[in-house]
Amino acid sequence: MMKDQLRAVSGQIIAIGVALLMGAIIILMVGESPVRVFMTLLRGAFGDQEKIAGTLLQTTPILICGVAACIGLRGGMFNVGIEGQLFLGGFAAAWVGFAMPLPAGIHTLAALALAVVAGAAWVAIPAYFRARYNTNEVVSTILSNYVAVLLTSYFTIFLFKRPGGWSETPPILPTSYLPEIFTFSRLNWGLVIGLMLAVGAALVFRYTKWGYSVTMVGSAPKFAEYGGVNVKRQGFMVLLLSGAVGGLAGGVETLGVHHRFMEGFAPGFGFDGLIAALLANGSPVATIFTALFFGALRNGSLLLEVDTSASREIITVIQALIILSVSAQVLVRKRGDSRAGERRWKF
């Protein structure tokens, strides 16, 4: 078993190498030096303690979104709507933050709780139709992202705009802040929440009956049904839980980083989380490392924009290439068992 895991990890690393190579070619195509770009990324991600804290700050939402995606993937559900859940969760937390004066501590918890509820509520309809009528959840959650982004923009600009401000809500009250860990960075306890969630999810999947049945439904639904699991109910709960965690990611981002909700808040974290979870093969603990990797890329890309002529979206290209090469190479390894690879989320 250990050997299998080692082989799986080495496979992912080879795939990342291949993807970086292809990325280098694309960087050459856009007229930059790949070495310079990669060195700048590295410097931007880990150059000094502030940069490292910044990387961890970027890692936080990716990690929480990644855990949300892991929960879905384990149960055989593609929650591609984490982005939308994040936006609604972020807005809900901000609303509690600026509109409801509460004592410190309780305020933060209340805001996070509403973020969780908002995320779960946003995925509830796609989840219901997926469970009950087998409506494709990939399409319904993707489409609901667009609605979520527009809807939160509408709330922000037409209903709760800060007077004189620029498409943002009023700032949240300091009682609802997630406390910062260091003085030199906005890095906050959200990271700890993310780590706890990842470890907690891993423990639930490994040691509880419920976690086992989720994994069973995801990998062998017929077997799970035969074993007495209510597959439909389970599917609904899995998506709901995944959406709840997605909403939490938004809440953490609002209370820990921005201290308000604004248009274009936290773009792409939902998708980064999904990619991180895919790269980690649905394992929440492995997602900690893949999220860190993507967080580093993101933070490094800020310096990229300053120091080189490449745009920061080049890291999106690299991420996509990684997923493509992982999806190809692991299947090369498994080619003997061709039917097994078909229509499963695992690579």
Partner: protein, 328 residues
């Protein structure tokens, strides 16, 4: 007053046809992959690279037609990568499709910055758009109804002409038959000696061709510019249409007209001063409601299909793996 009403209606219908065309082109492309049994969520990305490279080609060559060709070529490359990974390597189609969409978004923005030094959008720079086609005699024949058939850019006509062509293709040609067999009964196709791999490659490439045209239409016909992520979910709406139409060209057309109407109607609402953010959600909400409503309506078929597929699974399992698969 009556005349005014009629004019407004004609204008709205013409606007509907205009907004329908891009989504119709991409959905008809997806019809090939759907019929061939591939769930292609990568339409969005193919459309986006099509739009970007169409603008690029048009600037480089100074010809709109060459631009369209460039856009199609780029979309075909994406379709080929999709086919290699999904058909040959049997990678998960959702993962590959999503990754290609993300790649398309990042790549177009990176290239835009590298080539034009700007973010956001490409306007001007000598982009040559597709000309509007004025059908001779339309005015005499239809009078004030002429805008319904005349004055569109060429790819609008291509989109609507493609519908009967696809119907013919599926019902009257060998390729169409093969595509349907491969999608509906792959084992039958195998037994008949049809190469599933080859048919799925062809279907993917035909899909790339139409998705590329859809992209080119978006950036050279519908408007003459390129904007970041300008496909704005049309590829995903097309996938929603494909799910409930099962890829049948006429049902695809009906679905696309519904979205085209929602789009045109929402544009009109905006001019009446409704908040644009809410109005812009209309097409997506329509897509979601249609998806949910039609899957609710389709529920008995789902059960029948499930029974069918279970039976298939059991019989295939019996032949292929006598011991049954142990849960791993």
């Amino acid at each position: 007053m009556e005349i005014l009403d009629r004019l407004v209606n004609v204008a709205l219908i013409a606007a509907t046809l205009r907004t329908t065309a891009p989504i119709l082109l991409v959905a008809l492309g997806g019809s090939f992959t759907t019929k061939a049994g591939i769930f292609n969520i990568g339409l969005e990305g193919q459309m986006l690279v099509g739009a970007f490279f169409a603008v690029l080609g048009s600037i480089w060559t100074g010809s709109a037609l060459a631009g369209v060709a460039c856009g199609v070529a780029a979309a075909l490359v994406f379709a080929l990568v999709f086919a290699v990974l999904v058909v040959s390597f049997k990678a998960n189609e959702v993962v590959v499709g999503l990754a290609l969409n993300i790649l398309a978004g990042g790549m177009t923005i990176s290239l835009m910055k590298a080539i034009f030094g700007t973010r956001g959008s490409i306007v001007g720079h000598g982009i040559v758009g597709l000309p509007k086609v004025q059908l001779p005699g339309a005015r005499d024949l239809l009078g004030s109804w002429a805008p319904l058939i005349s004055g569109f850019t060429p790819l609008v006509y291509v989109a609507f002409i493609a519908v009967p062509l696809l119907v013919l293709c599926y019902n009257r040609t060998r390729l169409g038959l093969y595509i349907r067999v491969v999608g509906e009964k792959p084992e039958a196709a195998e037994a008949l000696g049809i190469s599933i791999t080859r048919v799925r490659y062809i279907a993917s490439l035909l899909c790339g061709l139409l998705a590329g045209l859809a992209g080119a239409h978006l950036s050279l016909g519908y408007i003459t510019m390129f904007t970041e992520n300008m496909s704005s979910g049309r590829g995903f709406m097309a996938v929603a249409i494909l799910i409930f139409s099962n890829g049948d060209p006429l049902k695809v057309l009906a679905g696309c007209l519904l979205f085209g109407f929602a789009d045109a109607f929402s544009l009109r609402l905006q001019t009446f001063g409704y908040p644009s953010y809410l109005v812009l959600t209309v097409p997506y909400v329509v897509a979601l409601v249609a998806l949910f409503a039609l899957s609710y309506r389709a529920r008995p078929r789902v059960i029948a299909e499930t029974l069918e597929s279970m039976r298939k699974l059991l019989s295939v399992d019996k032949n292929a793996e006598p011991g049954g698969k142990s849960p791993s």
